[in-house]
Amino acid sequence: MHIETVKDRAGPREFSPTDDLPEKYREAATRMIEFHANSEIMGAYLERPFIRQAPSIDRKLAFSAKVQDEIGHGQLLYRAAESLGVKTRKEMLDDLANGDGKFLNCFHYPMEGWPETAMIAFFVDGAAMRRQATLRRTSWEPYAHAMDKVCFEEGFHVKHGEDILATLMSGSRKEQQKTQEAFETWWPRIIQFFGPTDDQSKHHDFAADVGLKQKSNDELRTAFLNQYIPKAQQYGLEIPDEPRIRKNDEGDYEVVEDDLDWAEFFTIAKNEYEPGVGQIEGRNAAQEAVEWVRETIDGTDVPSGGQTPQAAD
């Protein structure tokens, strides 16, 4: 299929593995879905310690369920990416381990304490869900199908996150203070979740033209701010003075981009931010520590009657 035909036909769930798609489409889709899959995995690793550190049995159960979900989302997305025929699942996982795989800015920052879980589980997941809901209409059918399942499950994550925030903000003064501090640390990173403004975004034009991306960075950021600023205020959080956020003529919130640390953002995007390198290496070490489990499984004879599984599975 010619690239111009792809652009003409581009619509929700328009292209599937039966279509002969140009390399440029396949590569752009792979880059996008691989990034998404990597982010699910790195997010799960970031939250994993809080299964142990959870303050109650309910939170412990919910966190273990959530981490399990996120790993599952990663697996779904690697399958959707693999179906493009550009990279195998193994190549993507190896790249993530050796530091070449890219993932969401927020998951490069380590988490120190419990109040930060509300920042990830409510605000970052809320932002992610805003974006993912639009991706149910992406042009790569396997990606859209993965999003159906992810969005179905993600509602629990965001509500659980909000429940943590509600509990903390109705707790002791010290708890409220710690939560406000965590909010101030995470707020600019959360805004940067949506990436640079549209005019600075490197990949948007093509991804939008071929229907992979359904909404621009700016549209998503605005929609997120419109929903989540009132939410934060409702729970008694104070929005930090910087980055400055103003209401424009249409009544939408807008961020003064220059108030955000873009040097740090682009260092992160290159996987060169020091704490983020620690996150990548931490996951790699965890992977190696359980190598024996994979070896044991791989060594098991395949029961007769079944097909030999693909190497990537």
């Binding site: 929700p12 919910a62 629990f156 079944g306």
Partner: protein, 106 residues
């Protein structure tokens, strides 16, 4: 040899099981599937799968969803978020629906 047939009605939708055909090989199975299952109902794409390659797990022998109370992993278990984030509301709705239908089955 039996081949199970899955039909996708329109581009972008899911393939759903619609029946099976008797055929000696994959090529014949595809032809029979097209004739038997792709003629009258709207069809965009068909899959044929050898029945022997399908693994089956039945609700009689397996506790789907687990045997313990897992309300903590449902959006419906948390009493927060009113009508402000449409995508969260939508997800909760889908979960509520799934839960209801699961309970009907049990």
């Amino acid at each position: 040899m039996i081949w199970e047939v899955f039909r996708q009605e329109e581009q972008g939708e899911y393939h759903t099981h619609c029946g099976n055909v008797h055929a000696p090989d994959r090529e014949m199975a595809k032809q029979f599937a097209a004739i038997q299952h792709g003629r009258r109902k709207p069809t965009n794409n068909l899959w044929v799968v050898p029945k022997t390659e399908i693994g089956e797990l039945d609700g009689d022998e397996y506790a789907f969803g687990g045997a313990t109370d897992k309300s903590y992993r449902w959006a419906t278990g948390y009493d927060v978020t009113a009508d402000d984030a449409s995508e969260v509301v939508e997800s909760s709705g889908e979960q509520e629906d799934a839960k209801e239908r699961r309970n009907e089955v049990v």
